[in-house]
Symmetry: C2
Subunit: 457 residues, 2 copies
């Protein structure tokens, strides 16, 4: 979080120069200061896409420019690339590692992507197109296509010779394993490079193979990848197609990072930031549209509960204090529902809840209903006492407390089951469980309370 | 998520045998089925700690038992270990990798930890005690103490000889790098093992050092570690103390996993699961206490807003329809505040918001106030129209709409600033920003609405 001494000053000075439209001065200050990832993010987090692109162009240093693209969140990097001159964009993007290049191009508008791809060298173009076919988060979408493969019939000394003569290149792509393939480029074995050192020079590489190679299919999703890396101690796993052809290599770090990003996305979405990550440097129109869309949806979802109250105005007229209790019932039921939903989402992720629907429902209800009753009783009592304290007679207090208790049980059950149902209909439970269960909890809570109070008044 | 064919049947059969208290049969089924991580979690997710410990003991297979401990979430593994016979617990825990062993012991109650540590071999005991000193999530807490270090004055051939004779052991601990130390065990260089292959046999190991070694301090926190791994392309980084003495090695995968866990914790906490992860196999009393504590706190926090309504009962008596509008104002203001808080939390994490308080506040307010006004206007209009639709006169609609708009601006500002203030007072913004800003938004929202309506009625 803390920048190196001097970095903060440099960020401020560069920001000020950009604000005065003096991109040359800004680039000069940047050139004489080696900004790390935090400082770079702080600097570019303050700039709009046009200023950021101008600064990158003025810097004329491809290595640092690529650092900016790698260090910024994906959609910010994409907006900078969109704002760059196409030739410069193609040169920078063409020099990125294959997986990062594909991710960045995938985040661009169709038009810019086509323009930039058109200018890439033919081999890079073909490679990128094949990566762009894969869904993000799958092994194919995460893999790098730079790896070290040899025919399994080559000898140890041939491999060592190749490694010695390409040392620089292999060090750059961080080679750890040797992939052995047959004549049809099907993967037949994997050996850590250090094993070359321990083998006799004229042995065939196939002698290094100790067991059937661990591998993943190109369409394996984030969860399957995480499982595979949990089962295997390797830093990277080879990716193959249905025929077993070696396509690329997915790194443990990239798979874990992707899993991590999905957890962060869930968190972001649960806080009402949907449609993509937001930074305050983005245009106000984009931020307004995204936040507004979510607020509008939520406003519409409130209408059910509010409509129930509007419908029962005569009951409220008789017992005004109920108006003060309703928000308490709404908030408490909603919180209880969210807790149950969070536990179900976690159990789904961990695989503790299995695939069979009936078993899963039974598990959730069996473990939630008793807990719900134990939680509902004190909550109901608290709300009853509260109503009495605000001047309602005990009969009204009892009606309100009973409604609260009953609604807590209903809310907790709905919250616990919502993620299971949502997963079945292929909606992201992290996105929809909260809003759906709190909306239902409001409607049932208001209806129960006002009905019971209507009967008791 | 999907288990291998046969695994699900085995999980069901083992679960049934445990339910009939036939642990021998359960262990026999387990023994004849190789359960992967998902199936293991599904099985143990269903068992209480006593049954789980009984099954582990009946299995009498230390390798599989350790897999259970590594694959289950930390506090579940700890509850199983607590329920085991101490001698068995010590044997299983003693055989875990050093970092996992320390994590598990740290999660145990003080009493069980002391009992188990007492039975570990002296060297393991000393190593574990030194790891337990570190805060979880720091480099010291995450590091492994198994690594390959040589005096930098040794020769390449000496190192190769050592590696050849310890091949089995080094493969188990996944050695990738060679750490070179001086006479005081201070780190002076790092070389990938493959470089041994490319060097002449009688050269000193110091000739492999190409630049000052990348390293982290033992007290570096999760964020500092993530930054270090972002700056460095290495799979592991050496951990040193203040004197530069080499203490251990932290893996990129472990650092990323920890960052990931913190993001998941934030999500969990934001959904009201506090005091530790919950699985439905835990005792109902624990789950009740944890969920109930959070619901009680939230119930107390509702009282401010509800109290404002109770205080203004006469205003509601005059314009009953306001009772239906109040929950809409509460929910909408709360959602708007949460969005602003989520963006601030994200910007703090990314380092886009710097350390200087005045600059940070100005950045947030400068970018939120315009957006807040642009969002507040349509929300106010919507609520005004809604009130009219439910039968309120236009003067009341205008009063309600104005209150909604004003409160949206207040809520968004509070939501945006709360994480900054919380970080300054060292409270986790992910834990407290939501509840605090929604509570304040309720109180101001109800007070503004009822005051304006009181004036207009």
């Amino acid at each position: 979080m803390t920048n190196a001494p001097g970095e903060s000053d440099a960020v401020v000075a560069i920001g000020a120069a950009v604000a005065e439209h003096d991109l040359e001065r800004a680039a000069a200050i940047w050139r004489s200061n080696d900004l790390g990832p935090d400082a770079t993010r702080e600097l570019f987090g303050q700039l709009g896409a046009a200023d950021a692109a101008g600064l990158v162009a003025a810097l004329a240093d491809d290595v640092r420019a690529r650092e900016v693209l790698l260090w910024m969140p994906g959609d910010v990097a994409a907006s900078i690339v969109s704002a760059l001159d196409t030739a410069l964009a193609a040169r920078l993007v063409g020099g990125l590692p294959s997986d990062e290049r594909a991710d960045l191009l995938a985040a661009l508008p169709d038009r810019s992507r086509a323009d930039i791809q058109h200018l890439l060298p033919p081999a890079t173009q073909a490679e990128t197109s094949s990566l762009l076919k894969y869904l993000p988060g799958t092994a194919g979408g995460l893999m790098e296509t730079e790896f070290l493969a040899f025919p399994s019939s080559s000898t140890v000394s041939e491999a060592i010779r190749d490694i010695r003569s390409n040392q620089q290149k292999y060090a750059e792509i961080g080679v750890q394993y040797l992939y052995l393939v047959d004549d049809a480029r099907r993967l037949v074995g994997v050996a850590p490079i250090r094993d070359l050192m321990l083998a006799s020079e004229d042995a065939p590489l196939s002698s290094l193979i100790k067991s059937a190679p661990a591998m993943v299919r190109d369409d394996a999703d984030t969860h399957a990848l995480a499982s595979a890396f949990e089962d295997q101690p390797f830093m990277a796993l080879p990716v193959v197609d249905a025929a077993g052809t070696l396509l690329g290599v997915v790194n443990r770090a990239d798979a874990t990072e992707r899993e991590h990003e999905e957890a962060e996305d869930d968190y972001r979405v649960s806080q009402g930031i949907v449609g993509g990550e937001e930074l305050r440097s983005m245009p106000v129109a984009t931020r307004w549209r995204r936040r507004g869309a979510w607020l509008a949806i939520n406003l519409l979802m409130c209408l059910g509960g509010a409509g129930v109250i509007a419908w029962h105005q005569d009951t409220i007229a008789k017992v005004i204090v109920v108006a003060a209790v309703l928000p308490v019932i709404s908030a408490t039921s909603g919180n209880a529902a969210m807790q149950a939903a969070a536990v179900s989402i976690r159990e789904l992720t961990l695989g503790v809840i299995g695939d069979d629907a009936r078993t899963a429902w039974r598990r959730v209800l069996m473990h939630e209903l008793l807990l719900a009753v134990l939680l509902a009783a004190p909550l109901g009592a608290a709300v009853a006492v509260l109503s009495r304290a605000w001047g309602a007679p005990w009969t009204i207090g009892a009606a309100v407390g009973l409604a609260m208790s009953l609604n807590a049980v209903i809310s907790i059950s709905i919250g616990g089951l919502a993620p299971l149902v949502l997963r079945r209909v292929r909606v992201d439970p992290a996105l929809a469980s909260g809003p759906i269960s709190t909306t239902v909890a409001d409607i049932t809570g208001f209806a129960l309370t006002l009905t019971f109070v209507g009967l008791a008044a």
